[in-house]
């Protein structure tokens, strides 16, 4: 991150006039201000990803969204219209721009073989094939249609799904719908821990 905040110099009318009133030439004048960095940014209304207060936020985005452009978040601050937070944000909320575009965000699936001490980068097709295959293998191996008392239970005992309290409602719903249909009962998320 740059430490210089000066992006351009501005001549101050007041300064220049004041100086000339004293009959001295102190040009260039000294009012130097950087332009508002969100000046030409687009605004998107979103919600803070951290705790459950649900603070309204505005993400300021650079880029036109044109075919050749990757838009990026340059700043996030509180949404003053939100009746919950009225534009305010705690330190986590105030720094969420750094979370949004962190260089630490991963961009490729990684696979770790039994006993390996390192990851291996794999592509999505490999990853999802592997995932589906493992899922089916274990489901087939651990599925119980009838319990010891002969009651129909249709349960997959060998797979657990946890998370997440950080995904949108709609994804949360789809997780439940899909995993229940697969017969899983070991399903839980962060509420408990």
């Amino acid at each position: 991150m740059s430490i210089s905040r000066r992006t351009f110099l501005k001549t101050s009318v007041a300064g220049a006039m004041g100086v000339s009133a004293l009959g001295l030439d102190l040009k260039p004048a000294y009012a130097a201000v950087r332009q508002l960095k969100i000046r030409n940014a687009r605004e998107y209304k979103t919600v803070c990803p951290y705790c459950a207060v649900g603070c309204g936020t505005i993400a300021y985005v650079h880029g036109t969204g044109g075919l050749n452009t990757t838009n990026t978040v340059i700043h996030v601050e509180g949404d003053p219209d939100s009746p919950i937070n009225g534009g305010t944000l705690c330190p986590k909320g105030a720094s969420q721009m750094q979370l949004a575009i962190s260089p630490r965000l991963r961009k490729s699936p990684m696979y770790r073989e039994p006993g390996a001490s390192e990851w291996r980068e794999v592509d999505w097709d490999f990853a999802m094939d592997w995932f589906a295959r493992k899922f089916k293998e274990t489901r087939d191996a651990t599925f119980i249609q009838q319990d010891n008392e002969g009651r129909t239970v249709n349960r997959c005992n060998g797979i657990a799904w946890v998370g997440s309290a950080t995904v949108a409602n709609e994804d949360a719903y789809l997780i439940t719908k899909t995993m229940r249909a697969m017969g899983l009962t070991y399903i839980d998320h962060q509420a408990r821990i």
């Binding site: 100086v19 001295l24 004048a29 009012a31 700043h75 330190p91 105030a94």
Partner: protein, 287 residues
């Protein structure tokens, strides 16, 4: 040119001594008001300040405190300071937002020998302009609040500029906008003063007998004021009881040196008069 950025004083120029008249009357004079009784020390302001101003992240390490940095720096213009103080059976966790107070009579600017390195605007903001800074650090010794910090890499001094880019655009400073508990407010200074008086009244009703407004007259008042619940404990908040804009070395003033000294003398005398009139006990002001 936005009226909010009319210049009042320029360092090492005659205007440092004889402030420029505002071209237009009635332009806004702003102030922050920090109500310490509402502050939870969340560091929202500290982080928002760094984020908005693109200040470099520094390597910190925990030194036995909830405080992030030991001290302000040229890349940390705002620091939450934490202090645990016992008072009989009671415990006070005193938490203070430490940053430039934007003095009406700015000791840094008075002390600065570099033309235009420090500019004070009619709206109350005191801004450092690194392009003109010569790195002499006279401003550091001129500041009664120990705020400006020298950057060894750039050889310039930096401090809070009240998010002047935001203010010019009609926005409040980043720290104000973000404060979760409404502990930092922003507005016309007179309104903020009135607000501060009301807060003191409320605090006294809640049993804070020494609640006070911090807007010290020795520097002509400040554009970041505090409401201090324990006005008798300024020391514990590391707030100087009687700050004065010190004349500083004034070496850089060249042709203006003599007249400068004269006017500074006047400033000190007026500050002293203020001090004597109000007495040493109360940090309240009198702006």
């Amino acid at each position: 040119m936005s009226d909010t950025l009319s210049i009042k004083r320029i360092s090492a120029s005659p205007s440092a001594l004889i402030p420029l008249e505002s071209l237009r009357s009635g332009g806004p004079v702003y102030s922050k008001l920090v109500d310490i009784s509402k502050c939870i020390g969340c560091k929202g302001c500290e982080v928002a300040c760094k984020e908005w101003n693109d200040l470099k992240v520094e390597q910190t390490s925990n030194f036995g405190s909830m405080q992030s940095h030991q001290d302000l720096s040229s890349n940390t213009w705002l620091l939450m300071r934490f202090n645990e103080v016992e008072d009989g059976d009671d415990l006070h966790w005193l938490i203070k937002k430490d940053a430039c107070l934007h003095c009406e009579e700015p000791g840094c600017l008075f002390a600065c020998p570099a033309p235009g390195a420090i500019v004070q605007y009619q709206n109350g903001i005191v801004d450092f302009n690194q392009e003109n800074c010569i790195g002499c650090q006279y401003c550091v010794s001129g500041c009664p609040f120990d705020i400006p910090r020298f950057d060894k890499q750039t050889k310039t001094v930096a401090k809070c500029n009240m998010c002047i880019d935001r203010v010019e655009a009609g926005l409040e400073p980043a720290c104000v906008k973000t404060c979760p508990t409404n502990a930092i407010e922003w507005g016309i200074k007179d309104d903020m003063l009135a607000q501060a008086e009301k807060k003191v009244e409320t605090l006294r009703k809640r049993g804070y007998d020494h609640a006070a407004v911090y807007n010290p007259g020795g520097v002509g008042g400040t554009h970041m004021m505090y409401v201090v619940p324990h006005g008798d404990r300024l020391n514990d908040y590391s707030l100087p009881a009687h700050p004065v804009a010190s004349p500083g070395p004034l070496r850089g003033l060249n042709v203006f040196q003599r007249i400068g000294s004269y006017l500074f003398g006047a400033g000190v005398i007026s500050a002293l008069a203020h001090f004597l009139a109000v007495g040493p006990e109360s940090p309240e002001d009198h702006a």
